[in-house]
């Protein structure tokens, strides 16, 4: 009985953790306050939100400051701008509601039978944005999100940036500084993890694979803040460098010294360097980009162990590419990313593992109204029972392998540019290392296949 209770507790804890994290990693982008500020319809910046057009990329790189609204202005005595504020604050609201059904219901926390299937979340997620200009060269995308699974408001994607222009060899250089809380949230191509379409919208009520590279979310979930500097030369060559440091949230009331004490988990040792290089070419109605990015992260496991001594080291190196065709009637795009992570886990058992993630997706839209997308995802790596333990239904791995693979397909209907309805199906060929009985508790990978209906409005 105790074993059963322990098992139930573990399942509950795992579920809670999963739901909490997946709820906050469900990305959102497409902010009507940008449209209000610029006077440009959503289609200016997005093919279909959240994917950015070349104009949208330019708007973001320029610090979200382009405006066509009356401004409150302040000038210095030498006639320089000291204040430039929109008459109305650039505030927007996003509301998502969803229905989720897995092929087989998840185990009931009582340990007896299965839970009810067919989860309605209303809202799944609701966000309040400040998105727009703050000062002459300073703008922000700030998102606060209420997630139904945690039942609380939390700090979500944030990118505050300063941008300006310079000339190099007679060519224009857009340069800037971004202060953000999620590596790649500041990126302008939808082939990097934070905004990768069509993988950016997933149900927060369905299980997702356990293993993920640091760039794919775990680092962001543990709370980080980063400062990066970027330059975009002649609208073609992009370079960015910066560093991230732990910035945990919700530490008040804990014993100890504060946010960086050992009660936090996965605390960054010092600062984790981040880099990004990309090349983009535009021709006719097409654009193509290819790039690389990466991060070196040293993490103290924390969680009650001292934040000193050995660390777990993660070196992520990624390649990405994107192609877009934006016609008057037809829009199609393709995004791909490959992330290789080398793990040297000195704070665990000193083992060296690897993790490789590949995601390839493509989408088509007709008249920006009817569309579909399909994508393939795969995460494979070193079998490591210490890192991917068995013993937990649904979320464990009976063979200690992190491997998960599958497909995602979705149909979209966008009746208006700020409203989207998506029907998505995710099929797993492999989940947490196996195809059948992957968790050792009788669950098959395909049991996690998910039907997901999402309603998404922005205003």
């Amino acid at each position: 009985m105790k074993a059963l209770r322990d098992k139930s507790g573990a399942i509950l804890a795992s579920l809670a953790a999963l739901l909490f994290f997946s709820g906050f990693s469900a990305q959102s982008f497409a902010v009507p306050s940008f449209a209000r500020q610029t006077g440009v319809a959503c289609e200016g910046c997005h093919t279909v939100f959240p994917e950015l057009t070349p104009f949208g990329r330019s708007f973001k790189l320029n610090g979200y400051v382009m405006d066509n609204l009356p401004q409150v202005k302040g000038m210095t005595t030498d006639n320089k701008e000291a204040l430039l504020l929109n008459w109305l604050p650039p505030v927007s609201i996003m509301f998502q509601t969803s229905y989720t059904s897995t092929s087989k219901p998840l185990p009931d926390v009582s340990g007896i039978g299965n839970s009810q299937n067919g989860q309605v979340l209303f809202p799944q997620q609701a966000s309040l944005f400040y998105a727009g200009r703050i000062a002459p060269n300073l703008g922000a995308f700030i998102q606060m999100t209420y997630a139904s699974d945690s039942g609380t408001f939390g700090w979500d994607n944030t990118d505050i940036r300063y941008a300006d222009h310079a000339t190099l060899s007679g060519k224009d250089v857009t340069w800037g500084v971004s202060l953000n809380n999620n590596p790649t949230v500041q990126d302008v191509w939808n082939s990097t993890p934070a905004w990768q379409t069509p993988f950016d919208q997933r149900s927060s009520a369905a299980p997702t694979p356990t293993a993920a590279t640091q760039l794919d979310g775990p680092l962001t979930d543990s709370g980080v803040a980063g400062l990066t500097v970027y330059g975009y030369f002649a609208n073609s060559i992009y370079a960015e460098f910066g560093a991230y440091r732990s910035s945990p949230q919700g530490f008040a009331g804990q014993s100890g010294a504060g946010p960086l004490d050992s009660s936090a988990s996965n605390v960054v040792r010092g600062a984790a360097p981040y880099w990004r290089l990309a090349y983009e070419r535009q021709w006719d109605r097409s654009s193509w980009s290819i790039g690389a990015f990466g991060m070196d992260v040293d993490l103290f496991p924390g969680g009650g162990t001292a934040l000193a001594g050995v660390t777990n080291k993660y070196r992520d190196v990624a390649l990405d590419t994107q192609y877009q065709f934006i016609g008057d009637s037809s829009i199609y795009s393709m995004q791909a990313v490959y992330i290789h992570e080398k793990q040297t886990l000195n704070a665990f058992a000193g083992q060296s593992d690897t993790l490789n993630t590949l995601r390839v997706g493509g989408s088509y839209y007709y008249q920006r109204k009817y569309g579909g997308a399909v994508g393939y995802f795969s995460t494979t790596g070193t079998t490591d029972p210490l890192l991917y333990p068995s013993g937990t239904a649904v979320f464990g791995s009976a063979n200690g392998s992190p491997d998960s693979k599958g497909w995602i397909a979705e149909l979209n209907y966008i009746p208006w540019q700020n409203v989207k309805v998506a029907l998505q199906y995710t099929a797993y060929n492999r989940f947490n290392g196996g195809k059948t009985d992957y968790d050792g508790a009788g669950r098959n990978a395909s049991d996690n296949n998910t039907t997901y209906l999402l309603g998404w409005i922005n205003f």
Binding site: D67, A234, D284
Partner: protein, 203 residues
């Protein structure tokens, strides 16, 4: 009576003051063009996507007239509404004029031969019109080399696809700020529009 050196000094100062307002030395406008307009129209008005017109070398009076049409919303084709109505909302007439002068001074894009199947038909309509359909020769207003004049736009070097879209918009009255062009295009077929666009853009 003012001495000649002082006259020269005053003239120089006046030119210096005028320079930022009109012409290639207008740094403020160059910055506006490179930081805002360039996002769609290219760094020197040489846009890449045919969704957005090339402005380099376009006639200043035409650009100014279009900016005013966007602002007073008399030009209402789809892209005008989606992009330009908002973009010009805070532009004053002086800024419009200076933007127009800035782009007119840029080097126009050289024309490239269009679809060979269209060129002969396009040249015929461009030079001679189709009397039976009430289509006058394009050259009669836009010039033999499609260079335009004053408020009549330059077509040479433009994206052919953009020109076709404008002809369609004139015909459908989506773009209602040029009544003459509605009359011209009223009986024009899509095939003829493509031929004219390919030929005019190639000049």
């Amino acid at each position: 009576m003012t001495s000649r050196p002082i006259q020269l000094l005053l003239a120089g100062a006046a030119l210096h003051l005028m320079a930022p307002a009109f012409g290639a030395e207008d740094v403020e406008i160059a910055r506006l063009a490179s930081q805002v307009c360039a996002s769609c129209h290219g760094p020197h008005g040489d846009s890449i996507s045919p969704a957005f017109p090339r402005l380099a070398g376009q006639n200043a009076a035409y650009i100014e007239a279009q900016l005013k049409s966007f602002k007073d919303q008399t030009r209402g084709d789809a892209y005008a509404q989606a992009y330009m109505w908002g973009m010009v909302a805070q532009l004053d007439e002086d800024t419009m004029k200076r933007l127009a002068v800035y782009y007119a001074a840029e080097k126009p894009n050289p024309g490239r031969p269009g679809d060979p199947a269209n060129m002969a038909q396009g040249q015929h309509i461009f030079d001679s019109g189709i009397a039976a359909s009430g289509i006058p020769p394009c050259a009669s207003c836009h010039g033999a080399n499609a260079q335009g004049k004053d408020a009549i736009p330059r077509l040479a070097g433009q994206h052919p696809e953009y020109l076709v879209k404008q002809l369609v918009a004139f015909k459908s009255l989506q773009r209602g700020n040029a009544p003459v062009m509605h009359v011209v295009t009223d009986k024009m077929t899509l095939e003829q529009m493509r031929a004219i666009a390919d030929y005019a853009a190639s000049k």
